[in-house]
């Protein structure tokens, strides 16, 4: 039969089966016909559906033994379909369905089918999915599954699926012992039931050390293989920060309260209760910027006159009711503002984002990575991991090395140089925040450091003076509006085109924007929302070339008295 003929007769067949299905014919003959069609193309969802209808009907009319036989035949047929196309969605889905309905399922047979499939293609995710289902239903012991990942990783360690599976099994099999000191604030809850919901995602130290060795073997063997590096990152861990109110700030002039959280919250839906001098206040919480719904900083305006009298002392408490946490803040007589905050250490602020490992472990990991770097001085994964380890160990102490490694990274991986610049900016900002914490000042200055992006701006809630001159910034993003105390903004010599984040900053007086890329008057629109702005330096921006710019600016920003063009 020629190919065309085959095709034509198939279409005829299809038409037939369509009619039969409509007519509700659910007999074994229809089963035969669909089998014939599916065996030439197993990716035909409609036909599988029809088959399921037939099988469900047969279930009602046949004896149990017969049903078992029919389903076993179905499994054999599916096997032949999978041989034809081992990644057929329809076949795998149908196999799941059949396995679940089989009166006497033979799970070991299914497992060995999966093993065979995975030995042919160890990244066949259909098979991985199916296998997970089989393991779950048949209750294969976790230890046996871990052995299975051992085997797969042994035969080919470039396999995300196996590494990932391993990361889900290890915490079940070797949970972190509860007495071990954990930098994460949530104590792990050892549960005898081994249920993953209540389980800590950490692994006991003894096993962790073995895993470090295993994964090191992988990345020393092939340092360009990402899967091992990703698993390594997982091993090093990442703590969840405790959910808390990190800062409450109150300003008498604006009659405004700003609250900073340890994680972004939705200002509209977060359950906050403001108590002022023992009286709950009904206030409207809002984000600092309309384009920025989930924000780590929320603000609210107090009813006019409640705290405006400078001779009064006020006690303020903000409750985060759903998290059972709160923070007090006292506004004393004669003071125009007040705040209450944690004096956060670097450990809590940024290190936990990178790893929760103990210093000794990190130190030895850093050592072996440095060893690899000696052999492979241009390996980006190794460089990046070293940077992360250094940050987790001592961000300020390793600052110089970190910056040098970033430079190498940008050279060896130019495709991702922007990513490295952003990451480097993030680390520079973190370091500057730490230094500011130690110095207890409200001035934040990073100049001439090639910053490309701004982050951690919630940490700068109390900053009054910021100097970001001579960097590569292109915008002041909406998050910038979190700088509620900002009075002076210096961003000379950047590439700023957009001032979106300079929005409703109540205390902002000076904006120095010399030599940037502001090209249209509309880009300056956000400044109009800052009531106290009086000095604006726009020299060296394209916008100054526009006709009538001075008069239009005066109209837009009436409060500005000192305009430099």
């Amino acid at each position: 039969m020629s190919l065309q003929e085959t095709h034509a007769s198939q279409s005829m067949f299809l038409l037939d089966t369509h009619c039969q299905r409509k007519e509700g014919i659910l007999d074994e003959e229809a089963l035969q016909v669909t089998q014939q069609l599916l065996s030439s193309n197993p990716d035909f969802a409609t036909l599988w559906n029809y088959r399921r209808e037939i099988l469900m009907h047969l279930e009602t009319v046949k004896e149990k033994d017969e049903v078992q036989k029919i389903y076993e035949a179905e499994l054999a047929f599916l096997e032949s379909c999978l041989k034809l196309n081992p990644k057929s969605y329809g076949s795998w889905h149908h196999r799941c369905w059949v396995s679940a309905r089989l009166p006497r399922p033979d799970w070991s047979r299914e497992l060995s089918l999966c093993d065979r499939c995975l030995s042919l293609d160890d990244r066949n995710f259909h098979c991985w999915d199916y296998r997970r289902m089989v393991v779950k239903v048949s209750g294969v012991p976790v230890a046996q599954e871990l052995g299975f990942t051992d085997r797969l990783i042994g035969s080919n360690f470039s396999n995300y699926s196996s590494w990932h599976y391993r990361s889900t099994l290890l915490p079940l099999l070797h949970p972190e012992s509860p007495e071990s000191p954990s930098p994460s604030h949530e104590p792990p809850q050892p549960s005898p039931s081994h249920s993953p919901q209540t389980q800590s995602h950490r692994v006991c130290e003894e096993q962790l050390l073995k895993e470090y060795e295993l994964v090191q073997n992988a990345f020393f063997t092939d340092p360009n293989d990402q899967s091992a590096w990703f698993y390594y990152r997982w091993l090093l861990g990442r703590a969840e920060r405790e959910e808390m109110i990190s800062c409450v700030y109150v300003s008498r002039d604006e009659e405004r309260v700003a609250v900073a959280f340890s994680r972004p919250v939705n200002a509209q839906s977060v359950s906050l209760l403001l108590v002022l001098d023992g009286q709950p206040q009904k206030v409207e919480w809002k984000s600092v910027h309309p384009r920025f719904k989930h924000s780590p900083v929320c603000i609210c305006d107090l009813p006019p006159g409640t705290i405006s009298d400078i001779t009064n002392e006020h006690n303020l408490t903000v409750h985060w009711t759903e998290k059972y946490t709160h923070r007090d803040c006292a506004l004393y007589t004669g003071r125009t503002e007040s705040w209450c905050r944690d004096s956060a250490t670097d450990q809590e602020l940024f290190r936990s984002e990178l790893s929760v490992e103990k210093t000794s472990v990190l130190q030895s990991e850093l050592q072996s990575c440095n060893q690899l770097l000696e052999l492979e001085p241009l390996n980006k994964w190794c460089l990046l991991t070293i940077v992360l380890l250094m940050r987790a160990l001592d961000p300020l102490g390793y600052e110089k090395e970190t910056l040098a490694h970033f430079q190498t990274l940008k050279e060896v991986d130019p495709m991702r140089s922007a990513y490295y610049s952003d990451l480097c900016s993030k680390f520079i900002i973190e370091n500057t925040v730490l230094k500011m914490e130690y110095a207890e000042v409200r001035v934040f200055s990073i100049t001439d450091k090639n910053l490309t992006t701004l982050c951690h701006l919630d940490q700068l809630l109390l900053v009054t003076h910021i100097n970001l001159s001579s960097n590569q910034l292109q915008q002041l993003p909406p998050q910038f509006a979190m700088l509620q105390c900002l009075e002076v903004l210096e961003v000379d010599n950047n590439r700023i085109e957009n001032l979106e984040g300079v929005y409703h900053l109540p205390k902002l007086e000076e904006v120095l924007l010399k030599n940037n890329k502001i090209s249209a008057l509309a880009d300056l629109q956000p400044l109009a929302s800052c009531p106290k702005l009086r000095r604006l330096d726009l020299r060296g921006n394209p916008v100054t070339q526009a006709a009538n710019i001075e008069s239009e600016l005066t109209a837009l920003l009436p409060s500005v008295t000192d305009l430099l063009l």
Binding site: G154, S155, N156, F157, Q216, N217, A218, F220, T221, D222, P223, S368, Q371, L372, L375, E376
Partner: protein, 610 residues
């Protein structure tokens, strides 16, 4: 075969069924040539054959017997005007020499053996045609290289070469066997009787080679579809003998990852070296002409890696030049990972299957096969100096345009000393490196055990290769000869195994039975010439390399000389794709035909072995 007359006209007549001859036969038949393929032996594959245990015993016996001088018959009556006869030489029985057999297991079941305390002396037969080997010299040498002083001496001598004339050797035998049974009181041993009883389940190769996964043999098997006639198994690990131990060589990425003997830094260095040597670099060129070892030394790889790279991956010697070393390394690496974690494949049922597969292909396309059938002489046209016909040993004149012959029929006019290969075949009771799985197929490289000794390649086959019985391993050792096979290989055997010569190595596998012999290394024999007509081509037989590159290249060259215009082994159609025109299904490529030929061959072989 019945003494029927053969057809008297063929395009190509081929004498000898070794690998290159069989490939030429298949290639010619495949493109429509009429092929007659003969072998004087009663089995296929000549010196490339595999035997059952009993088959091997009869093969040994055959070589022990004095070759009977064949009387030369005068066939000049069959000549026409202007023709002359060129007689082929007597088949060269010296292609196998220095045959020595040792049985270290008890003859009968355990109890009987203990009561009789004498392993049947007839089984400890040793045959040697070159009787000039001096046992005493040999044992001295042993004593200097190994701590055998205590046991050496007497035993060494009595195990040593037993001349066929049979002198005084039997004196110490009881001593030996009692020592043996005292050493191994507990282990349930496989007896000689058991080996004979289960002998049919052995497939013992005369040559020991492996197929490189990207070598020319595998490519040819795939290209020609001959692969469908055989099944293969991966060699599962590469081992090496080093500092008195057998170690696994990490060669694939997975091996390197899993290796416990390498530090992570060594892992990186090894992987980096393997990756970098795939490309020709300026650094390589700078070493041009200097030894590969020198290059390896300068890479600061450390002793471990240097050993692995030189001996197990490149499999070259310390003075091999860099070009050759790198080429060998690349060949190894290219073959890696195609079918498994090592570069090698081994055919189930032994290497003797491969020539038979090609013969089968030849038969499918109409080639005619006769075993126990030889050619006595060639009919040569005096004017053109071309072979017009051959006259077989029954006096039938068969005309042909081309004649291909195995080198043993070509006279030893070239007086150049022939190179030899030393071979040993061992049946042992355990693997040289036990592991989780007892079904490992291992390639073991053994650097020279001492100065003057050759590099030995050892292949250890497990029962799942269908070459030996459960509970045993079949071990092949091969090297280029420096002395007799026994002299070359016995030192390696005593180091790697537990034998009466190495009674202190109780933790090593015991040798149950072994045979040593030398084979002629034919690499170097010319395809043409030898004073033969221009349309006669000589297949040179075996070579000492591990792969089949030499034999396949030779077959291809011969084919191109015969049929310069034709494609070499184009894919054979699948039987199910063959379209029969009309109602005449008797087209040439009938599967029945093919089965007939193959089965017949095997039947003949097994008959002669019983």
């Amino acid at each position: 075969m019945a003494a029927e007359e053969l057809p008297s006209e063929f395009d190509v007549v081929i004498l000898g069924t070794g690998l290159p001859e069989s490939v030429v036969a298949a290639a010619c038949s495949r493109v429509g040539q009429r092929v007659l393929h003969l072998d004087r032996r009663s089995y296929y594959a000549a010196n490339w054959a595999s035997f059952t245990f009993n088959g091997l015993l009869s093969w040994i016996q055959q070589y022990q017997e004095e070759p009977q001088p064949k009387e030369v018959q005068d066939w000049s009556s069959l000549l026409d005007e202007g023709e002359e006869l060129v007689y082929l030489s007597n088949p060269d029985s010296a292609s196998i020499s220095n045959l020595q057999v040792f049985c270290f297991t008890s003859e009968e079941d355990e109890e009987e053996a203990q009561s009789s305390d004498l392993p049947n002396p007839t089984e400890e037969k040793a045959v040697n045609e070159d009787t000039d080997v001096k046992p005493s010299a040999d044992s001295n040498e042993e004593a200097t290289t190994e701590k055998q002083e205590t046991v050496g001496g007497a035993e060494e001598e009595q195990l040593q070469v037993t001349p066929t004339e049979g002198e005084e050797q039997d004196t110490d035998k009881p001593h030996l066997s009692t020592a043996q049974s005292q050493l191994e009181p507990t282990r349930k041993r496989i007896t000689y009787a058991h080996l004979v009883k289960e002998g049919r389940r052995f497939n013992i190769d005369l040559v020991s080679k492996l197929m490189y996964s990207r070598g020319s043999l595998v490519d040819l098997l795939i290209k020609s579809n001959v692969s469908r006639y055989a099944e293969f198994k991966n060699v599962t690990r590469i081992l090496t003998y080093r500092n008195g131990n057998v170690e696994q060589v990490p060669c694939s990425r997975a091996d390197v990852f899993a290796s416990r003997q390498l530090s992570v830094v060594e892992k990186r260095k090894l992987m980096r070296f393997l990756t970098s040597c795939m490309e020709e670099t300026e650094e390589h060129q700078a070493y041009s002409g200097r030894p590969y070892l020198e290059f390896l030394c300068d890479q600061k790889l450390g002793d471990n890696l240097q050993h692995f790279l030189l001996h197990s991956i490149a499999m070259v010697t310390e003075d091999t030049p860099i070009e050759e070393g790198l080429a060998a390394t690349r060949h190894f690496l290219r073959s890696l990972g195609r079918y498994g974690n090592t570069p090698f494949l081994f055919p189930l049922y032994g290497l003797g299957e491969i020539p038979q597969c090609f013969c089968r292909m030849c038969a499918v396309f109409g080639g005619i096969y006769c075993l126990r059938h030889s050619v006595d002489c060639l009919v040569v046209d005096k004017d053109t100096n071309r072979c017009k016909a051959v006259i077989d040993n029954r006096g039938q004149r068969i005309s042909c345009s081309h004649f291909v012959v195995e080198d043993s029929y070509v006279g030893k006019k070239a007086a150049a000393p022939r190179r030899l290969l030393s071979r040993a075949v061992l049946i042992t009771d355990g693997s040289v490196l036990p592991s989780d799985s007892d079904q490992q197929v291992s390639m073991v490289t053994i650097p020279p055990v001492a100065a003057r000794y050759p590099v030995v390649k050892m292949v250890e086959l497990c029962p799942s290769t269908m070459t030996c019985i459960p509970g045993t391993y079949l071990v092949h050792l091969t090297c280029q000869s420096a002395g007799s096979a026994y002299e070359d290989l016995a030192p390696v055997v005593t180091r790697c195994f537990h034998t009466p010569d190495s009674p202190d190595q109780e933790n090593r596998p015991s040798v149950l039975w072994c045979v040593y012999f030398n084979m002629v290394d034919g690499s170097g024999v010319e395809l043409e010439g030898h004073g033969l007509p221009s349309n006669v081509y000589v297949c040179s037989g075996l070579d000492s390399t591990l792969g089949h590159e030499y034999a396949i290249r030779q077959a291809e060259l011969i084919f191109q000389k015969i049929l310069p215009e034709e494609d070499f082994c184009p894919p054979a159609p699948n039987p199910e794709d063959i379209i029969y025109d009309g109602e005449n299904p008797s087209t040439p490529a009938g599967e029945e035909d093919e089965d007939g030929a193959g089965e017949e061959g095997k039947r003949e072989q097994s008959q002669t072995q019983e």
